[in-house]
Amino acid sequence: MSRTSESPLARWLKHGYLWIMLALVFLPFYVMLVVSFKDNKQFSNHPWAPTWPLHWENWIVGWNTVGVCIANSIFIAVLTTVITLCVAVLAAYVFGRYKVPFADLLWAAILVLMLMPGVANLIPLFNLMRGLHLLNSLVGLCIVSAAGGQIVCLYILRNFIEDMPKEFFECARIDGASHLQQIIHVVIPQCGGIISTLAILNFVGAWNSFILPLIAIRDPEKLPLAVGLYQLQGAYVKQWGPLMAAYFISAVPLVVLFAFTMRFFIRGISEGAIKG
């Protein structure tokens, strides 16, 4: 419907609805921000409205509390994403281009694993990590997370590589490209959009990972953000100001990530839609 034919009332209703939705989405951030400058007394008296004086020291306490956790989460998310995608691209290249022995069986197993809930294998996973001396280690956590992340990445990337014209690879072979060079010069540029999307999804997934770090990490200085914030709940007699400051600081990295990477995410999804 064009603007000229749309009635003012309809336009007002549409915009009003969008503003209400936006407000609801941003409400938690507003609450966190407002409460982060209060002490408990101000919070009890006026929980939603800004109050004075502003307690800036809450932010220092909050940062000291979650700063290490943020650093751990960044390390885990980046390393997990890198390992996941490196392995998945290599494996998807082989599955997509060549006839692998028992490929159908392997593929069926991957599909079954996609349907299995992660918590169902927590205990055997814990025992496995203990046997491999990967407990209480950030790198160990990354390796296990990367293994789990293979399933979806492999499934998506293999389909993309299968759809690529085989002449690209044949031409590269004739030109003298090795398998690794074909991946670097042909696969990755062609699949850049979907690889970006998978990178974002894996990063966010590793960032928000909770159950596995909860059982695998013991040392407080190695805790990632999700577990650190959870333990923060019981650490204080509910100092709401520093708590909210810590939560707000925790949300900033992902907001920044999305702000800079959303166009890659959308492009990757669009490429997937067109290819599909």
């Binding site: 002449e167 044949e170 031409c171 072979r173 490209a177 540029p189 062609q190």
Partner: protein
């Protein structure tokens, strides 16, 4: 440049599908061989075996005297142009052309020189900074050819490079490829299903069917001396007319009879087929060897027959006439001179030039006149 030699080359896929059967032929150094045939005949598979993209099941392939059966594609010193160009969409034209040289770690200056030389040869210098999506079909195909040229390979392989182009562009690119071959003097193997491309491009043409190599000859050799009914019908447009009948003797003359149609064979052809008298055969005659009898030209009166013009297609330089004979199975296509003016649904007196006729065995479909005519150097 180098000679390419096939010795009993076969390709059998998993499951027992025999795509290529014992192909033996030689592509002379500097020549352009065209592999032509219908879809699924094994021509692309044969080409891919030369490139190393398909394993060779039986036989050997030699490039420049070296057996390349176990040699990797990158070490065979060949370059290939694909049907769909295979240009990397994320690279500029320059980088597409330079890609192979960069992989082989050529110095930057030499890469630049080779790319610009090839671009100038193909008249695409102005396109070097464009990406493939900004190119037309013809431009993209030239870039693909340029990517092959910069490698200075021993052998160029073309896998139906013009199939994705429109008819007009195909004609134009055909001429350019022919010019390129003349300029480079390179050994080229060109695969196509289009017999017009085959006839116009190749110094030699190899016709394949169902994995078998049927005949290798110069284009006019195939056209005038086809060794089998399939080759006779595949080469030439409109295709050769085939009439199914029997051979009979009338005194010293051998005649072909198809129902009420009787055509006398000239002495040389009669001698070649005299052992087949009484047997069923196919008589082949090209449209341009069926004339309008009213124009004279010394036709044998015994070979002038009355046909009915069903469809007349005036093409300007010639007229195609679709003729219906006196009985079923006697339909032929004739290529008349522009001086003729046949009318649709009119009876036409047509003269069969039997000096140019071909006779094929009914069972094997091999030419009964091939050896006698070709060896005797008889006129086409």
């Amino acid at each position: 440049m180098a000679e390419v030699r096939f010795e009993g080359v076969s390709k059998v896929y998993d499951g027992g599908v025999r795509a290529v059967e014992k192909v033996s032929l030689t592509v002379e150094d500097g020549s352009l061989l065209v592999l032509v045939g219908p879809s699924g005949c094994g021509k692309s598979t044969t080409l891919r075996m030369v490139a190393g993209l398909e394993d060779i099941t039986e036989g050997r392939i030699y490039i420049g005297g070296r057996c390349v059966n176990d040699v990797l594609p990158k070490e065979r010193d060949i370059a290939m142009v694909f049907q769909n160009y295979a240009l990397y969409p994320h690279m500029t034209v320059y980088n597409n052309m330079a890609f192979g040289l960069k992989l082989r770690k050529y110095p930057r200056a030499e890469i630049d020189t080779r790319v610009r030389e090839a671009a100038e040869l193909l008249e695409i210098s102005a396109l070097l900074n464009r990406r493939p999506r900004e190119l037309s079909g013809g431009q993209a195909q030239r870039v693909a050819v340029g990517r092959a040229i910069v490698r200075h390979p021993k052998v160029f392989l073309f896998d139906e490079p013009l199939s994705n182009l429109d008819a007009k562009l195909r004609v134009q690119m055909r001429v350019e490829i022919a010019r390129l071959h003349d300029r480079l003097g390179a050994t080229m193997i060109y695969v196509t299903h289009d017999q017009v491309e085959a006839m116009t491009l190749g110094s030699k043409v190899a016709v394949m069917k169902d994995g078998f190599l049927l005949q290798v000859d110069a284009p006019l050799g195939l056209y005038n001396h086809p060794a089998s009914k399939f080759v006779a019908g595949f080469i030439g447009s409109p295709p050769m007319n085939f009439l199914e009948g029997t051979l009979e003797r009338d005194g010293g003359t051998v005649r072909f009879r198809c129902q009420d149609l009787i055509l006398s064979l000239p002495d040389d052809i009669g001698r070649a087929v005299r052992d087949q008298v009484g047997k069923r055969v196919y008589l082949g005659i090209r449209p341009e060897n069926i004339h309008d009898a009213t124009l004279g030209a010394g036709a044998d009166p015994g070979n002038i027959k009355t046909f009915h013009a069903d469809v007349v297609e005036p093409l300007g330089a010639e007229t195609l006439v679709y003729l219906r004979g006196p009985a079923r199975g006697l339909d032929v296509v004739a290529r008349f001179d522009t001086r003729s003016s046949p009318r649709v649904n009119q009876d036409v007196q047509v003269a069969f030039d039997m000096n140019k006729a071909h006779v094929f065995d009914h069972q094997t479909e091999e030419s009964l006149t091939y050896a006698a005519r070709y060896d005797a150097g008889l006129p086409a």
